[in-house]
Symmetry: C2
Subunit: 623 residues, 2 copies
Amino acid sequence: MSPKITTELLKQLRQVMKNPRYVQEPVQAYIVPSGDAHQDEYIAPCDCRRAFISGFDGSAGTAIVTEQHAAMWTDGRYFLQAAQQMDSNWTLMKMGLKDTPTQEDWLVSVLPEGSKVGVDPFIIPADQWKRMSKALRSAGHDLVPVKENLINTIWTDCPQRPCKPLITLDLSYTGISWRDKIVALRSKMAERKVMWFVVTALDEVAWLFNLRGSDVEYNPVFFAYAVIGMNTIRLFIDGDRMMDPAVREHLQLDSTLEPEFKIQVMPYGSILSELQAVGAGLSPKEKVWLSDKASYALTEAIPKAYRYLTPYTPICIAKAVKNAAETEGMRRAHIKDAVALCELFNWLEKEVPKGTITEIVAADKAEEFRSQQKDFVELSFATISSTGPNGAIIHYKPVPETNRTLSVNEIYLLDSGAQYKDGTTDVTRTMHFGTPSAYEKECFTYVLKGHIAVSAAIFPNGTKGHLLDSFARSALWDCGLDYLHGTGHGVGSFLNVHEGPCGISYKTFADEPLEAGMIVSDEPGYYEDGSFGIRIENVVLVIPAETKYNFKNRGSLTFEPLTLVPIQTKMIDVNLLTEKELNWVNEYHQRCREVVGAELERQGRHEALRWLLRETEPLARVQ
Amino acid sequence: MSPKITTELLKQLRQVMKNPRYVQEPVQAYIVPSGDAHQDEYIAPCDCRRAFISGFDGSAGTAIVTEQHAAMWTDGRYFLQAAQQMDSNWTLMKMGLKDTPTQEDWLVSVLPEGSKVGVDPFIIPADQWKRMSKALRSAGHDLVPVKENLINTIWTDCPQRPCKPLITLDLSYTGISWRDKIVALRSKMAERKVMWFVVTALDEVAWLFNLRGSDVEYNPVFFAYAVIGMNTIRLFIDGDRMMDPAVREHLQLDSTLEPEFKIQVMPYGSILSELQAVGAGLSPKEKVWLSDKASYALTEAIPKAYRYLTPYTPICIAKAVKNAAETEGMRRAHIKDAVALCELFNWLEKEVPKGTITEIVAADKAEEFRSQQKDFVELSFATISSTGPNGAIIHYKPVPETNRTLSVNEIYLLDSGAQYKDGTTDVTRTMHFGTPSAYEKECFTYVLKGHIAVSAAIFPNGTKGHLLDSFARSALWDCGLDYLHGTGHGVGSFLNVHEGPCGISYKTFADEPLEAGMIVSDEPGYYEDGSFGIRIENVVLVIPAETKYNFKNRGSLTFEPLTLVPIQTKMIDVNLLTEKELNWVNEYHQRCREVVGAELERQGRHEALRWLLRETEPLARVQ
């Protein structure tokens, strides 16, 4: 990997930082955040401004360019990659290390007195603006919004913003019509006494209108905003996709409707001026509800006294609790996904010993098998196909330079998933195609014990996910092992594979209480640097539990695995399992057999069915 | 319990709220917080202003009096008590219930436009002031400091502030001299580039100077502040206790010392003016370190630009990590405490069947046995001696009106502890003096399983206590049971029985990572309203653990029980215990036998020794 040469680009950027065409007054520093105007995890190529200016294209990182310096803040996952992709114009700021200054502290240390620091107000979330602005002001500097994005002014071959056709989802997929979702949203608004709600997150727009898109890779979303009033619905979206008869029919654009359900379609770019008009027309006590992560630009459009900001929007919370149609869709998607993986693992078992299967080939084959399944749309994230030491790189993605050949001597870790029209999958299995060592089996079994401890946990209604995180670690901890990532994340229903507001992590921010219908991943792991990686991941559904005493009618919850892919028994040291854990494995495999076996049979995939039956033979303790 | 009649008092308070002798402008509301000027959990009688004005004397509650209203905010522990103790002048605001307004929201709803809300700036912590002031200002009101405490102006028989003699602790108790503590503190100050440190918490003053007092019941502290500069030490303390030759010798007040260790003794009441003088004399970049919980008055004495505020002071953190002398002292204290409890339980076993032992008699007897032990000073908190349904009241303290007789038909819960010159104890045991029911044994055994799960947990260095909380609940959760309090709190060394900055709780605030030498309680429970309460509490020391793989040299930790009092085996359903848990109980009892047995022998307490030997017989599984 050779670094991107950025000398000329930085020169150009420093010129526009002083160019009165773009800035009222010269800015002495310019911040290039990672995200887009919707604070998405995955972004479209036209929004990869930080990668354009620096060469570093990891998923997280903030660039700051001053007249003298160019610095990049990123976290431990990307220290190596960022160092390789950036040239000597850039200083790498390793976040999480003790001596690394914060962006604010660094700015204060390098800027001349009374400096202006510029940032695109559409890209920076309001909460970040507030923090940074305060820190800079207290040191005598100013954070200023620069309307035109300065990277765009020098990015001559910047790709177009995607504007792909939409998919309409009917009630059999969504369970609730968009009209009923609007009614429910308005009732939440009435409860909080707000008159307007601004939808800024792309997956929230998609969920609200029962539409999907493909503007962003892996995330079935489309660029749009919405502003919902008590009597009006405005959808801000570009392109001729609203000319599609199916979409017009779905949104009833040409029907005679009660006025409060009439959708006004407006250009994507007009959101700011429309919102400013809303802000200007508010009467006292008319509040406008926004996520506190909405962009500074949109937040500022509403006068401060009229803003109602919350970390989670009512849509985010409603979206997290899946209804019966969504849950059934997720079940179907996971069965199809299991069929694809049974095919893949059966194929790998035969092919790996030949020494011709690389990580990329295996990933492609997984996609091929998935794409044969009904309603397959695309992958839900970049497949992590990693063997041997590559498995220890938690966010590894095989590229030609690192591509390793699978062998019977190394552990293989596959973390992959897909978007189907009926649901989103995300599954990790760790396999050995030869004979694992006792140490590898030992580590695998601790990880499995952690996985089971979470999956089988029973807990009272209202418990937050972070309280379950240690259950996943206890068996590892007992032997002095651990893993440095959270145990689980929320999963969307044919939406983003990572979604809020719940999860299972030792980090306690972003953690609303778990409730029945929520879907999260359960994915403990163990990573031995330079040697191997182990992770066992199921997507699990929060369901009511039956307990002897039922928490004085507070009710209790547990998890049901939606993922139904065999866990390789060859990797398990049965003697390390308790009776309860052994039964869990056998019951899980029995369920895989019944449910996935029936589907394999139906699809006539007899060889994969034989593989499934063999891999799900009940385990017994060696006497 | 009849309520306090407060009509006349409220009338007087409302008069002084308008009296120009005390307020520059009339205040339309006056806040009476719970605490004292040091934000202590336990307060002296002279600081019980909220109890004086309202009648409600629980440990937590804030009163607000306006011209028309008088309202009291308190939490679920005290709803019943507050309702009983307050007359109809008062409105009870039940915190934690959905419809209860916050103090700020309530004030905004009842106050006329542009009101002034007064509060004693010495009593309100700076962080609370900031939050409340902001909320009031945004609604057009003002929070104003009222220098003279308005309750004191009408409290004609207010007791004197206590000013009791001091106890000096030598190196054998403290392990580190006060001079070395000052040196360590100054080095932390230098690290953070601060020139001054203001000690406002009473236990921090006591710890720093290796002195103890008895100004506040249960807490061996004395009213004082300290201001530590890089070259100066100022101790603000009243009374002739500084005339005590032992104290003068201990602090080397009459010795020729290097100037930087010369302690300047100043009147307690001069702290504000002295601190204002410090604040006025600061050069640029000279910062002053304060806890963010210090009073508004002291915080304001330092101009904002010069303040360095942290949630935990370096003294709080240093104090939490006990050194070898303190740890040995804590061990000794717990052995003596166990001797007293063996005596007590042996005595109760004989006396309870006679039907003459009440909760108060039992509590008094516990104190009597403890007071026979060497270096006993006082109790460390009000003894919770509760039988039958009283056991389900988590913060119960027997009073004549509720005093119940112990019997062979009810569970007895005793949560008690003492201050010895060498350490602080806090232990809960739940006993049955007849035959427990199967259900009682079942619940007890789940609680025991939770207690063991925490006590035997192994976890990596740097783990925060809240990540261990669920271990204590898992066995209860499996059956649909839970308890509504945290699992553990920090414990001082001959200091406050509750101290920061660590603990084990599902609440995640106030939770610094655990490290070897810290001491916390491990006290899961189960409470059946109207029927019984169960709690099993040991004080445990954080110690390094031996693990197979040692977290890649990150190191690992576990707990060693300091409390060595038998856990009643009669209450245990052995068949619910795993092999590992059974071994834990037997090993724990073996250790009680050896260590406490030897001490009982040494003290010639043969009957209690026989009781101990019987109670610590190894358990075996019923085949």
